[in-house]
């Protein structure tokens, strides 16, 4: 299997007080090693559920999820996660927060090497000098950057980002997009990015998957052509406008606002 992540015919329901709630039905997805796939879809369609499946936090009712050829049936220590809520531990310094995964995952790094790596990652995202601050002393964007470092510290095979920039203002968000490109160049990872921002999806990812409304299936896949290093200017080219338009139409279909045939 050449793809690092393979999701095959996944179906999943949550048990709720009012009976089973089908969330995913017919989900297909694959991410090659080093690939970065963005997942977009209507609110509540099951995107976070998808990330929990890949992380092994949830086992699907039907279908299979493979990471590196191994069928996922329980959490394995080979993923890094970051959410919209940075969930940093307030009683730890930023450096100690970033080091947290190394206290759990068996690691080849010595304590000093781990710390060295944490400092390097923090510098990479522009948090040099904040190592000994507490999370409460940082802005939202800075917390999110620290949370990203924590997700990467143990060199996970898969980086899972669930709307990590969703709560940030537009300028901070664009700032972080560029930092993401820098991080990916220095610390290659295979990534799944959940987002509500179509511009974000085509700026960061090399493939965009549109999920249908709940229960979600893979509705549409857009490949973002590799045109070398991306800058924000790329978002204002006719090619970008065409991609955004296509995605917007697909989202409208997923939301059930227009019939599938009407897509441009």
């Amino acid at each position: 299997m050449e793809n690092l992540i393979e999701i095959k015919a996944v179906r999943h329901s949550y048990r709720t007080a009012s009976g089973p709630l089908p969330v995913l039905d017919g989900l297909e997805m694959s991410v090659p090693e080093g690939g970065f796939v963005a997942v977009v879809g209507p609110s509540g369609c099951g995107k976070s559920t998808l990330t929990r499946l890949v992380a092994g936090l949830l086992i699907p009712d039907h279908g299979e999820v493979y990471v590196h050829g191994t069928r996922i049936t329980a959490p394995r220590s080979n993923v890094g996660m970051a959410f919209q809520n940075p969930v940093l531990l307030e009683w730890r310094t930023i450096l100690q927060n970033v080091l947290l995964p190394l206290e759990i995952v068996p690691s080849k790094l010595s304590k000093a090497e781990g710390e060295e790596r944490a400092r390097r990652l923090l510098a990479l995202v522009g948090l040099e000098g904040f190592e000994n601050k507490r999370p409460s002393e940082l802005s939202g964007g800075m917390k999110q950057r620290a949370s990203l470092c924590r997700a990467l510290i143990h060199s996970p095979e898969v980086l899972i980002l669930d709307e990590p920039f969703g709560a940030l203002d537009a300028f901070t968000r664009e700032d972080l997009w560029q930092i993401m490109h820098r991080v990916k160049a220095e610390e290659p990872f295979t990534g799944v990015l959940i987002t509500h921002d179509l511009r974000e999806s085509i700026f960061l990812a090399d493939q965009v998957v549109v999920l249908s409304g709940r229960p979600a299936k893979t509705q549409f896949v857009l490949d973002v052509p590799d045109t070398g290093p991306r800058t924000l200017d790329h978002l204002y080219t006719p090619e970008a406008a065409a991609m955004l338009n296509t995605l917007r139409h697909q989202i409208e279909i997923a939301q059930g606002r227009v019939p599938a045939g009407a897509a441009a």
Binding site: R76, N85, V87, L89, E90, I104, I160
Partner: protein, 252 residues
Amino acid sequence: MTGRQVYVPVLAVIVFLALWEALVWVMGWPNYKMASPSDLIPAYQKYWELFLVMGWQTLWRTVVGLLLAVVFGIALGMIMGFSRVMRDALYPLLVGFNAVPKATVVPIVALMFVGAHDFNTVLIAFMISFFPIAVSVSIGLSTLEPEYRDILRSLGASQATIFWKIALPKTLPEFFGALKVAVTLAFIGTNLMEIVSPHGRGLGALFDSGKTNSDYPLMFAVLIALAFLGIVLYYVVVALERIFAGWADRTA
């Protein structure tokens, strides 16, 4: 601790005592109606040895009861915090137990374990004070945002690791809030037992003997001594809170 944090409360106590003295003097109350601070000094002088011995008895039994309440309260809180079923099962029982006025339980316990005075007292102090601790820990654990759990679980961490690394430290501010309440409650428990059970020990018994002998300044002196012990224990908890949960203080 800055200088101000010491002298402001001390000043407040002095003002309070002065107002009390003035009130008794202005109203012309005899000391069997309301003793004034100046009446208390002779009482302390006369009985200082008793105050030391009895005060110590009250203190250690309260602290032991409190420690038991902490251990039991945390254990119960963990059970209820991690398991929905246990929470549903135990909550009504716990609330019912807490609603029973402890003054009615005291004579029952005193009869049940006649003569085991230390044991009785510790038991009541414990029974009255574990409730807020159990509730705070269970709420702290059950309201932990799922993302905190997911971060560690996705790394393959065990439930125990999640508890030690995240759930417990995150619950500490609530825990100490509850502990401050529990300290006061434990004192009430200890004294209830000391006053009610015959030939008792501790400051409660001293209060009772003041009552029997119509020594009103002594009774007031005991109340002030209790208040003093309560304050000391409360600030011990505050100091522990600073050490273990100082990060939660955002006033700085």
